[in-house]
């Protein structure tokens, strides 16, 4: 067997581990799947009537791309809790003592995260359609949008793996990761355009990488408010640069951290 095929198999075996865990311990999936549906009901349906964003036909058109991104980020964030648990229970030590390359183990794990992320994105989008959201561009652009969402989720998953490997306890990871992601997605353009926010908050929301991704997504799907000035040329590069930067930073750091995981 060639080394490449062997590593591919290592990746498959660890990815399968993550998938089986997701299937047999579904409680880890409940929150990320429920959350977009609840938000959809709360903001899209319940408050949708009183909220109007200038330049968009209905609030759901503005809201749903952001909620999909938020749901994906929270799903990816669960990886931190999982990985911290693996450190705690000695599973990381067990895998590290194997001849299997560390990269294959972590890569396999993020492949299973990617599937969970895709599931969340699908559920969130379906809930969005029920709330009245539509993609106003063509199928190719719609597909490109989902690809962007998955890439973003994958980057957050690697960041979560890094956090999980660095957390002292699973409880710490459980407390920190979702809180950070909720804060990051709230102080952004997910719920409201930053120019409607207080003066001090606006720069934060505008500089937020989540805002960059959401803007790119709205432009792709034709949901960007008219008159915002965002175009393909202005919206795509920041989003892609952010995603790429997170991947380039988080992957080597996570691999390095993995090789130095402390005793459980």
């Amino acid at each position: 067997m060639s080394e490449f095929a062997a590593v591919a198999q290592d990746v498959w075996v660890t990815a399968r581990r993550g998938l089986v865990r997701g299937r047999r311990e579904p409680r880890l999936l409940v929150l990320p799947l429920l959350q977009p549906v609840l938000f959809m009901l709360l903001f899209g349906v319940l408050l949708g009537g009183v909220i109007s964003v200038p330049g968009v036909a209905g609030y759901p058109d503005f809201l749903i791309p952001g909620l999909i991104v938020q749901a994906v980020a929270l799903t990816a964030g669960m990886a931190a809790v999982d990985v911290a648990g693996d450190v705690r229970h000695g599973m990381v030590d067990r895998f590290r003592a194997l001849p299997t390359p560390g990269g294959a183990v972590l890569f396999g794990r993020t492949v299973s995260d990617l599937l969970r992320i895709a599931m969340t994105a699908a559920v969130a989008a379906a809930a969005g359609v029920i709330a009245g959201w539509r993609v106003h561009s063509g199928p190719a652009a719609a597909a490109a949008g989902f690809l962007l969402v998955l890439t973003f989720g994958y980057a957050v998953a690697w960041l979560s793996v890094l956090v999980g490997l660095s957390a002292r306890t699973p409880r710490a990871a459980r407390a920190v990761m979702p809180a950070c992601l909720v804060a990051l997605t709230f102080v952004s353009n997910v719920l409201a355009p930053p120019d409607t926010m207080p003066q001090w908050l606006r720069p934060l929301a505008e500089a937020n990488p989540v805002s960059a991704v959401v803007t790119a997504l709205r432009v792709l799907w034709g949901d960007e408010p008219a008159g915002s000035g965002a175009t393909a040329a202005s919206a795509y590069p920041p989003a892609l640069v952010w995603i790429f930067a997170v991947l380039v930073a988080a992957i080597p750091l996570a691999l390095r951290r993995y090789r130095r995981t402390p005793a459980p």
Partner: protein, 323 residues
């Protein structure tokens, strides 16, 4: 006989705390080394260094002839390791746990499955093979954990407190399994706080405390090193200790030690039985009636207590408090 594990001057510090202060040891192929010490002795640190999981600040370590610091990837296939707590996936079955590790050891699907079946049988887990590990009792989890370390039939197995948190019955079960491996020619390093465990399983023992080696040798050597047999008299009256000390010095050829508060006098002795008869005779002649008299044999327990300044075998209550 070639050495399967060689450690030379292993040093590991965490901040200002020294976990290992220059550990050197050598384990011949097919033998068991007991690494005996209380909590925080440095046992886990030593095991993790040998298992390629931790880099020491100084020192060298060869496992099966491979330097684990410079070529960890080459050393790993020959090493099986169990941590202090069983590292098994609760959401998988026993079979799936072993099969997964077999695949990661690149045995291929068919051999990984065959190996899993074989190990489950050998560790008396066949009946529970297809149950999820989250419902295994502690003893079974431990056995599965040991089986996990043996998936690739490694030449060297490192066990860090393999019976921590188990009741006596499960403990005996684990000992059986370990003895079996040793008969197969596996080299074993067994880190433990339990003297009984080291005594039962180890060919040689290294006593470790706060990162320092306090003593090493076979269980018998260690016992002798600390004093072997002693003649001991407990007196009813404190005033009699002086006379008893004189008598013991004459019988045993000096070196009598008095513990005044306990009314106790003792002295090391070579042929205990002979000396005991002589002692009784002389005490009687001096008109002293001892409360207790006898030959005291130093146990490995005494050795441990003397070396580390603490009780060797924790009580069951200690054990529960820890877990």
């Amino acid at each position: 006989m070639a050495a399967a594990i060689v450690a030379e001057g292993l040093v590991k510090r965490y901040g200002s705390a020294t976990a290992l202060a220059g550990l050197s040891l050598s384990v011949p192929e097919g033998t068991v080394l007991g690494l005996l010490g209380p909590d925080r002795a440095g046992k886990t640190t030593a095991v993790r260094i040998m298992a390629t999981l931790l880099r020491p600040d100084a020192g060298r370590c060869l496992v099966n002839g491979v330097d684990v610091l410079t070529h960890p990837a080459w050393a790993r296939p020959d090493i099986g390791v169990c941590g202090q707590r069983p590292a098994v996936d609760g959401f998988l079955t026993g079979f799936e746990n072993l099969e997964q590790l077999g695949r990661l050891h690149r045995l291929g699907r068919r051999r990984a499955r065959a190996r899993a079946e074989e190990l489950l049988e050998r560790f008396h887990l066949s009946e529970a093979a297809h149950r999820r590990v989250s419902c295994y009792p502690a003893g079974m989890r431990r056995r599965l954990d040991l089986a996990c370390a043996l998936v690739a039939a490694p030449a060297v197995v490192l066990l860090d407190e393999p019976t921590a948190g188990l009741d006596q019955r499960s403990r005996l079960g684990i000992w059986d399994v370990i003895s079996e491996r040793v008969r197969d020619g596996t080299t074993l390093l067994l880190a433990t706080r339990h003297l009984e465990e080291a005594d039962e399983l180890a060919d040689e023992i290294v006593v470790l405390d706060r990162g320092h080696v306090l003593a090493r040798g076979t269980p018998d050597q260690l016992t002798r090193q600390i004093g072997g047999e002693r003649l001991q008299v407990v007196l009813g009256d404190r005033a009699e200790t002086q006379v008893a000390e004189d008598i013991l010095n004459r019988v045993c050829g000096g070196q009598a030690v008095v513990f005044l508060d306990q009314h106790l006098v003792q002295a090391p002795v070579v042929s205990g039985a002979q000396a005991l008869i002589e002692l009784v005779r002389r005490l009687d002649a001096a008109g002293i009636e001892p409360v207790d008299i006898g030959i005291h044999r130093a146990s490995l327990d005494d050795v441990f207590r003397k070396l580390t300044g603490q009780a060797a075998t924790p009580t069951l209550a200690d054990e529960e408090a820890r877990t």
